[in-house]
Symmetry: C2
Subunit: 122 residues, 2 copies
Amino acid sequence: MSSEKVSVADKLSKVSDYWNPVIVGELNNQHVKLVKFKGEFIWHHHEGEDEMFYVLDGEFDMHFRDKVVHLKKNEFIIVQKGVEHKPVAKTEVSVMLFEPSSTLNTGNQVDDVLTQNNLKTI
Amino acid sequence: MSSEKVSVADKLSKVSDYWNPVIVGELNNQHVKLVKFKGEFIWHHHEGEDEMFYVLDGEFDMHFRDKVVHLKKNEFIIVQKGVEHKPVAKTEVSVMLFEPSSTLNTGNQVDDVLTQNNLKTI
């Protein structure tokens, strides 16, 4: 079986809500997800999963307990497992996520109104 | 420990040769790599690893035994394990790779002059 290409712009155009990642690829038990952020998320961490945030468009702040990292287009950050973090976006930002397919958006210890248990694949 | 951000443009500016991926991130036993292609690579496959190619700048053709997929900026393709493929770039293209840290650029069955056994982390 050979593969189909994915246009990130096409997929992003189908994302209309915030904080609700969609799955656009899967490899080696990892998911590639697209998500739009706007506003402030909640503090959380992932017990067993590192998480990568790559900015496709816009900018946001990744808050850690000891610092804030400002991320712009074409920059990424890897948040290691166990590290508390909170994304905050003053304006809309589009982000590509790489993380294990087991990863929950609000972490494993939080069950919040923002928790997305069933992600769509688009 | 909290994380540092990575500027993909900064890292790419340090890549001067073709077909020689550099490691720019690691998470969940996966590597994030940057590579520049120009010309024609060799046919190969990866026995146990899926591989993602995300085009950062430029364009290239991914040849499969049954078709050719043309990839442009902000498009990606996931090549599943076992699937033979050969990247060909008429002009320089910059690509982000996402794959297990065990992945060899020419696949597990090929030891070629193009094989890179010791990737740099930059």
